[in-house]
Amino acid sequence: MTGAIALRARISAAHIFTRLGWLGWVSIATAALVLAPIVAVVSNVFQSSETTWSHLVSTVLPDYIWNTLLLVLLVAAGVAFFGVLSAWLVTAYSFPGQRLLEWALVLPLAMPAYVMAYAYTDWLQAAGPVQTALREITGLRVREYWFPEIRSLPGAAAMLSFALYPYVYLLSRTAFLDQSRTTMEAARLAGYGSWGRFWHVALPLARTAIVAGTALALMETLADFGTVSYFAVNTFTTGIYRAWLSLGDPVAAGQLATCLLVFVLVMLFVERLHRGRALYAGKRTPMPPQSLRGWRALAACAFCATPVVFGFLLPAGILLALAANEPEARLGPRVYSLVTNTFTLAGVAAVAAVLVALLLAYAARSVKSPVVEGANRLAVLGYALPGAVLAVGILLPLGKIDNAIATWMHTQFGVKTGLLLTGSMTGLIYAYLVRFLAVGFQTVEAGLSRVTTSMDDAARSLGLSPARTLARVHVPIMSGSIATAALLVFVDVMKELPATFAMRPFNFDTLAVEAYNLAKDERIAEAAIPSLVMIGIALLPLILLLRQIACSRLNK
């Protein structure tokens, strides 16, 4: 009996692997490459470090877990609220300022959450301009009045929501634009008002995109250390750093990071379940925007302007004021190399991430094997790991391989190569790939889900190979998603800190590094200048994205 079961298991296992084909294998190999650093972190689970654990559990960990859950909930609510509603308003209605807001809503992507945190703290703290003015007007003194504390959990949730809602906005906007006119007309005929059409038709149809965008925002929230540590909000990530740095126990830190990953895996699994097997397809006839007037138009405009003001205009203005007030803060000629370095890294990483994302998403779609599917789910986990933890996870295996190569070259050929990968651009791009593949993958996958399987079948029956189906059918249809994915990765890499910090080559600084070096030394005003340049540069790809957004509307 057991023999039969074992045999059947072996047959089905063999079946799974023979079905993979070259595409399946390539995608599994790629996923394994991206997974290696995560495995390096998780492998700490097999070592023991009981004292640190019992110390953390009995003192601070429960607090950290509670804070993390609360932060995740608040950010989820925040990004979904602003992202989905603003996307719906700018796609389904026309109102004064709608054209402008449609692209301006993306702007906060250029603003790193930690820079936003510096700006708001400086502005809103007791010694800052707002409270000083308040005291001058009212004559009250500090501690005689109540003022919301920005450096708090709700404050951190607000920063992260304003910085991250554009993910939800972009994905759900595309989804709303894709919804067919006929569906909406049918809903109208069925007696649904405009709210009903949104709640009962548009929202469920855009669910995949909304959940994907929210998942991205939440993974980034869990990985965030810059904002929460600046606000002294102790989250699970704080616990990882505390175990690693203060308590000097990297094993316990790795184990805590593994717990975080398990949490994310569960979250992603729930997302999968939620998505189910639904396949959405419809004729993409444009939905004519309904024109709003009077107070409705004003309300729509005000609502969409809110996240733009708080997520971009206000913090950028605060930074400008800070920079103007600091006559000695100058970047000098260094700025050219900083800009070039930033551009190079972000550009190469964006292209690499999109190609790998396409490969993985397409393999999962055409091979339809649980192995490929599982590998993909794991490959995006890097996004939820705190950057510094991930950097260590990458440095360890990379250093081992590199040293092995160097030793081999030395003994075989007598050539001293030194380390080829660690501390090279290649190593750094690899780190970005591990970290940001999720951004590319989620976006590309959301795009791919809009290509119907019947299109695949048609292409294949016309004799196109899977690769050519990808190049000639999917890529043209998905060009919007591909561009979005590339630009999102580009902007994310520009803002990335910990991995760049730990892994960059000699004499190779980026704008984010420069800004952080100044900020960590409590020279916020001086940090404002590289931050502003960084925001300025991030605007360039965003303008490309916006053009693409404008085109996507025209084409329909």
């Binding site: 703290q125 950097a391 501390g423 290649t426």
Partner: protein, 349 residues
């Protein structure tokens, strides 16, 4: 559906971009006449100070400025073939941890041991301190008399309930202060002290030391714990709000009557696997020279560790001489984990 040649072309362009990208391997580092430096310091005087070394020795400096802990992990991962020659960092606990991990090479240099006092360097020459910073107490002169805060122990006095501002306990500067309390008072009394301080906090710990000084200025609290150079930086500013802060907020150098004020260092050492050992030794000796000491310390308004070096920093000189806690600094590294455990137990966030 129209299949355009454009999309094909686009795909090809992307592919060739990636191909080029993967071969952008970091520039090969020449083997002679360079020094590869990993440093956690980043100040405006650095350029002058690095140029000085290159001028004096003809050795070019390649450097990576980064986070203390990230660079440490990188050195460990790079192992035997790593390119770094010298690692400079701040906080003695980090130097101690690096020494424990075996990344520093012991260095016997007559000039270094002659110039740098023994308690500012490792006995075997693994690391050397090149500048020192004091952990001082700032107070609002309208509310408090300095003799009420003559000792760190006074911070735990319950009459300061709701009056103290400080950054989180996990920051190395606070950990090293708690460590010094453990060394002097023993774990039990140090825990009692930390509990007292935690109970006196005006607000949950957040921000950096500058934020605490500003909080005293606006009246959120009356007392702040800070490193001295954040205050000096404000002293050197011409902005009206900074001028008025300096007028109102003053500093105490604690424990002048007994063991002396707690100090920490920034420093570094030559790495075990340094490929350019000569350059590394020259660099460390250069750091202890009079000119370099002035630049290095002045960059962050710190004190040079080499005695008798001119400060060229009137604000710093205005503090005069003071008594420093003379426990061997390496001891602070050993007690760091205990310090964090105590802070967690007493609820000093």
């Amino acid at each position: 559906m129209q299949l355009t040649p454009r999309s094909d072309l686009c795909l090809r362009a992307i592919l060739s971009g990636l191909f080029l990208g993967t071969f952008l391997i970091g520039e090969a580092l020449a083997q002679d006449k360079v020094l590869n430096l990993y440093t956690a310091r980043h100040y405006s005087t650095d350029e002058a100070f690095y140029t000085g070394y290159t001028k004096a020795t003809g050795i070019k400096i390649n450097r990576i400025e980064g986070g203390e802990d990230a660079l440490f992990e990188r050195i460990k991962a790079e192992g035997a073939n790593g390119p770094a020659d010298v690692f400079l960092t701040v906080d003695v606990a980090r130097l101690w941890r690096a020494e424990q991990a075996g990344i520093f090479a012991p260095l016997k240099s007559a000039s270094l041991s002659k110039r740098i006092p023994a308690h500012y360097r490792d006995a075997e020459g693994h690391w050397f301190g090149f500048s020192s910073r004091a952990r001082v107490v700032a107070y609002d002169k309208n509310k408090i008399k300095p003799d009420e805060l003559a000792r760190y122990e006074d911070l735990a006095n319950s009459k300061w309930k709701g009056e103290i501002c400080t950054r989180p306990s996990s920051h190395p500067y606070n950990l090293s202060l708690i460590s010094s309390m453990i060394i002097h008072l023993g774990e039990e009394k140090a825990a009692g002290w930390a509990r007292g301080v935690a109970a006196n906090l005006a607000r949950p710990p957040r921000g950096g030391d500058t934020d605490q000084l500003r909080a005293v200025d606006v009246g959120e609290c009356a007392i702040a714990i800070s490193n001295h150079y954040y205050y000096v930086r404000i002293m050197r500013s011409d902005k009206p709000e900074d001028r008025s802060l300096v007028e109102k907020v003053k500093l105490v150098w604690p424990n002048q009557g007994d063991r002396g004020t707690h100090v920490n260092i920034s420093g570094g050492g030559m790495l075990q696997n340094a490929p350019n050992r000569d350059a590394a030794v020259k660099f460390l000796e250069y750091l202890a020279s009079d000119t370099a000491q002035t630049y290095f310390a002045n960059g962050n308004n710190e004190w040079p560790t080499v005695p008798g070096v001119k400060l060229a920093n009137p604000q710093l000189e205005s503090f005069g001489k003071f008594k420093t806690d003379s426990i061997p600094l390496a001891e602070l590294g050993k007690t760091q984990a205990a310090a964090q455990r105590i802070a967690d137990q007493v609820g000093w966030k």
